[in-house]
């Protein structure tokens, strides 16, 4: 029965609570090391022939046990109860602790080699002591600066003011060798024993001046005489399939240390020549140094037989995979899922589509009450295989039943009563956290409501792509299920997608229409779009509209509605709004524009204009969409955007929208114009080059003649490209899909169209015309020294006509350069951001409006100096006129 009692783990409320008030780091003293240790390691053997741990070896059972069934010889506990006990290695000769060698060096430089006193006169000592005492109280940072000054001052002394001994310069050779520089430049090695003697002589009072706390850390403790040996729990051996034992890297290292230590001891005891002793001593120093850190400068790392460097203590802690970043700050978690994402325009922006397979694996604990008893029974009956079911049942006494291995679920279901907890499958309406890496801002993890769907991918609404920066070219995302009511409440109130429509970055909507929605908005609302009854009913149904249908704009011969009427029906009836559209060209006055270039909404009636990127697009401030969010609130805005976007995409479906090369058709005269443009420009460039070759070109200020020419040519060539862009815009089919998308802001730009139909323009590498390749020329197709447009990467053709092989090559090279550039930039900016976040992470806006750091010190006396929340104002500004107008006051 006793074993049964032992197995039940300690209940959480039985664990005593203590508050950490302060943490102090100090050096482990030899005395403490010995008192912590339960045994001395005396032999480098780990196991005997029979495979039993050697007594006095590194696997001695007194250090603790890890194998099941064994009992610890120190505490008598089985492996799950034994915490492990430290041992020790008594070193035959002291060695320097590498990680402290810099501080040892500092002390050797600032104290007397004979009497161990600090190299300052008594007056100076008194003066500094008094100043330091004052600063210590509150000015920790200033005290550090003063200590630095004291150190500098003491270092300058060459004669001890106390005993008059001449001081030699102490040279430190990384990582652990010290020399004294004698008069004639002779270097004399300071061995760890001598160093320890010198450190022992330094009085406590002098150490305080040098920033040491001698009560916590005497400097001679930085020279090890005894080495603590961690228990096997820290360095467990692994049993291979072959039955062989494989020891941890640390054990290997400790074996080396013990072996060399043994050799050194016998060498000293047998009176071996000092050169042999010194050699072994140095080897011991090396092994102990690499035991702490195997990546020391100027030291070859210790390698495994396979050539892999050993992972010693420092390597366990350091870096991304290390204990801090890998195991403490970042852990793998349960109740999470990851798969590919794909779009679903029929979801709400608040929702996420979860595959059934995922929903059956992820669970939510549900306490059975008398009201949901029937539901709970059904879930248990369905079991782990049928969705919606349950995977586990937890009895009120804490027993867990895995339904995968439970035979009679019916019986269990009948046994269910209030107080049971069942871990049920994810069902529609559950709140989950959805995340895409890199998590650069708070909108990278948002709360979504589950929608269980067939298929194997997570589905999300297209309007939430911008905050996650997601697309569907293979992106994967993570999903986490909150496991308790607090977490769910927080997720629902603080993290739900609809509460992140407005980004705190610039105070505009980061969620919103993109691409096809914008095309759809434009095509639906432009002047010549009419919809018949069937279509308008279909579109209103898609939007979830259940009001009356407005009177059609055209009654006869057929009832026809305009697209603007459809939008009007979906707009809130008290909305008044005027804004410019993306297709705006020449109109200045919204009230005198007959080309729909201004969006005008009067009492929820869309009077003029079109919907496009400027009005419903994501990341557009002061747009129709932005105003809807601000005036009607997150919840309304979410419903509005859900319905209107659904309607728009359905309209685009009905109408059809596909782009072919016919949307890039250009009349013949446009090509004549382009030819002439290029020919003229080429002539001009050649003239420049001619002038340069004749030496008639004059250098511009600050530039060489070559740079002047390069400059002139670049300007001329970019001028042609711009002219070509104008030609393209003039002749391009205005009803073509390409132009519609570019103009409304759905996708692409006039630049892209120019590249397709007119001229690609100059290709660059690092912002310059091509110059690399052969000597004096880019490829063998040109004369050396050819500076003309074609020879240096100018592409006069367009994508539609096609590039010449040479142009194609330049284009490919330029494209690769751009790719490399973005890769480098993201890496650099990512690291910059990491450092910024680490520096800023605990700065917060306090309730009194001040900005403070973790210790409560003031960073800013008022947030942003004006106290305005960007996301709750007109993106950082106060628009008083608007506030007064809406409050019904006139200014």
């Amino acid at each position: 029965m006793a074993t049964q009692a032992e197995k039940t783990s300690i209940r959480e409320e039985e664990i005593p609570l203590k508050t950490i008030k302060a943490i102090k780091f100090s050096i482990l003293s030899p005395d403490i090391t010995r008192s912590l240790s339960v045994m001395e390691i005396t032999t480098s053997e780990t196991y005997d022939e029979a495979g039993r741990p050697m007594v006095g070896g590194l696997m001695d059972k007194r250090l603790g046990v890890v194998e099941p069934g064994a009992r610890c010889e120190t505490c008598g506990n089985p492996p799950d109860k034994c915490p492990g006990h430290f041992g020790r290695i008594e070193l035959a000769r002291p060695v320097i602790h590498v990680e402290y060698s810099k501080y040892v060096h500092d002390l050797l430089k600032t104290t007397c080699r004979e009497c161990g006193r600090i190299l300052l006169t008594d007056d100076e000592i008194e003066k500094y002591r008094r100043r330091l005492e004052k600063l210590r109280i509150r000015w920790k940072l200033l005290a550090d600066r003063l200590i630095e000054r004291i150190r500098k001052k003491a270092m300058e002394r060459t004669v001890c003011p106390h005993c008059g001994a001449k001081q030699y310069r102490v040279r430190f050779e990384r990582p652990y060798t010290f020399y004294e520089e004698r008069e004639n430049g002779v270097l004399e090695r300071l061995d760890p024993m001598k160093i320890r003697e010198r450190l022992e002589k330094i009085p406590d009072s002098d150490l305080e001046l040098l920033g040491w706390d001698p009560k916590a850390a005497r400097p001679e403790w930085a020279v090890l005489t005894v080495l603590p040996v961690p228990p096997p729990q820290v360095r467990p051996s692994i049993q291979l399939e072959t039955g062989q034992r494989s020891e941890d890297d640390l054990t290997h290292k400790l074996v080396d240390i013990v072996r060399v230590n043994e050799k050194l001891r016998t060498a000293i005891e047998s009176g071996a020549p000092s050169s042999v002793v010194d050699q072994l001593w140095d080897l011991l120093q090396y092994h102990i140094a690499t035991y702490f850190n195997n990546e020391l400068p100027n030291l070859p790392p210790v390698k495994h037989r396979s050539g892999r460097p050993l992972k010693t203590l420092a390597q366990r802690l350091k870096g991304k995979e290390g204990r801090f970043r890998g195991s403490l700050s970042g852990k793998r978690v349960d109740f999470s899922a990851r798969t590919v994402i794909s779009p679903d325009p029929n979801l709400s922006i608040n929702e996420v589509g979860v595959p059934i397979d995922v929903a059956k694996m992820l669970t939510v604990p549900m306490t059975v009450t008398e009201w949901d008893l029937d539901l709970a029974r059904q879930l248990v009956l369905n079991g782990p295989e049928v969705w919606p079911g349950a995977n586990y049942v937890v009895y009120p006494d804490g027993r867990r039943v895995d339904l995968r291995y439970f035979r009679d679920r019916r019986e269990l279901a009948n046994k269910l009563a209030p107080g049971f907890i069942i871990e049920r499958h994810l069902i529609n309406g559950d709140i989950v956290l959805f995340n895409r890496q890199p998590s650069l801002h708070r909108m990278s993890i948002m709360g979504h409501l589950v929608r269980v769907l067939p298929g194997r991918t997570f589905r999300l609404h297209l309007a939430v792509c911008p905050p996650y920066n997601a697309d569907f070219d293979g992106d994967e995302m993570n999903l986490h299920v909150p496991q308790n009511e607090e977490a769910r409440a927080e997720a629902k109130t603080l993290m739900l997608v609809q509460n992140h429509i407005i980004t705190p970055r610039y105070g505009g909507p980061i969620i919103g229409a993109r691409q096809d929605y914008i095309t759809g908005g434009y095509l639906l609302t432009k002047k010549d779009t009419f919809i018949n009854k069937e279509a308008i009913v279909y579109l209103l149904a898609a939007a979830g509209y259940d009001g009356d249908i407005d009177e059609p704009a055209i009654m006869y011969p057929k009832e026809l509605w305009t697209g603007k009427q459809l939008i009007s029906m979906l707009l809130p009836k008290d909305l008044n709004w005027i804004q410019s559209t993306a297709i705006r060209e020449s109109c200045k006055d919204p009230y005198n524009c007959y080309t729909d270039e201004y969006l005008i909404i009067v009492n929820g009636y869309m009077a003029a204009g079109v919907l496009d990127k400027k009005s419903i697009g994501a990341e557009q401030v002061d747009s129709l969409w932005h105003v809807v969010v601000k005036r009607y609130g997150n919840s309304y805005a979410r419903k509005w955007v859900d319905s209107i976007l659904r309607s728009l995409v359905r309209f685009l479906d009905l109408r059809g929208f596909s782009m072919g090369i016919d949307s890039l058709e250009m009349p013949p005269e446009s090509y004549r114009e382009l030819d002439k443009l290029y020919d003229d420009s080429e002539k001009k460039v050649l003239e420049y080059i001619q002038k340069f070759k004749e030496g008639k070109l004059e250098a511009e200020p600050g530039l060489t003649i070559e740079e002047t020419l390069e400059n002139d040519v670049t300007i001329e060539l970019s001028r042609v490209r711009e002219a070509a862009a104008r030609v393209a815009e003039k002749y391009i089919n205005k009803d073509g899909e390409a132009y519609i998308m570019a103009k409304t802001g759905a996708r692409g730009s006039i630049v892209n169209i120019t590249q397709m139909v007119a001229m690609l323009g100059q290709q660059t590498i690092r912002g310059e015309r091509f110059k690399r390749g052969f000597s004096g020329r880019t490829t063998a197709h040109f004369e050396p020294g050819d500076l003309g447009p074609t020879a240096k990467g100018f592409v006069r053709n367009n994508f539609k006509v096609g590039l010449t092989p040479l142009e194609f090559f330049f284009h490919a090279a330029g494209g690769r350069d751009g790719l490399v550039d973005t890769a480098v930039r993201t890496a650099q900016s990512g690291y910059m951001q990491r450092r910024l976040i680490n520096a800023l992470q605990d700065i917060y806006v306090a309730y009194d409006g001040t900005v403070r750091n973790a210790s409560g010190s003031i960073i800013q006396t008022k947030y942003a100096e004006d106290g305005i929340d960007v996301s709750k104002s007109d993106h950082g500004k106060l628009n008083l006129d608007e506030i007064f107008r809406r409050a019904g006051l006139s200014r």
């Binding site: 600063l135 509150r138 000015w139 200033l142 600066r145 306090a846 009194d848 001040t850 403070r852 210790s855 409560g856 010190s857 003031i858 960073i859 800013q860 006396t861 008022k862 942003a864 100096e865 004006d866 305005i868 950082g876």
Partner: protein
């Protein structure tokens, strides 16, 4: 020249930094007023941002360690902004 005289002369020279247009207006706040400001900000003296007494601005207005100075500077967001610095030795 005595050490005091030399110091006075350097202090004079530091006054000239105030003439630059990018230099904010600054003044040492009398002790009684400091108390009020600290109460208003709900902060202890050392929780204010620090400025070294060796800072050219601090020297120009003759601030000593332990003083609090008021700085009035132009701000992109607030037009004009008043902030405080606690003068520390060094």
């Amino acid at each position: 020249m005595s050490a005091g005289g030399r110091r006075r002369k350097t202090e004079e020279r530091f006054k000239r930094v105030l003439e630059h247009e990018y230099m904010p207006k600054a003044e040492v706040i009398p002790k009684e007023e400091v108390k009020e400001i600290l109460k208003q900000l709900n902060a202890k003296m050392f929780q204010l941002p620090w400025i070294r007494s060796s800072d050219p601005l601090a020297r120009a207005i003759g601030a000593r360690p332990g003083n609090v100075i008021r700085i009035i500077r132009k701000s992109d967001t607030a037009g004009e902004f008043i902030t405080y610095r606690f003068v520390v030795p060094g």
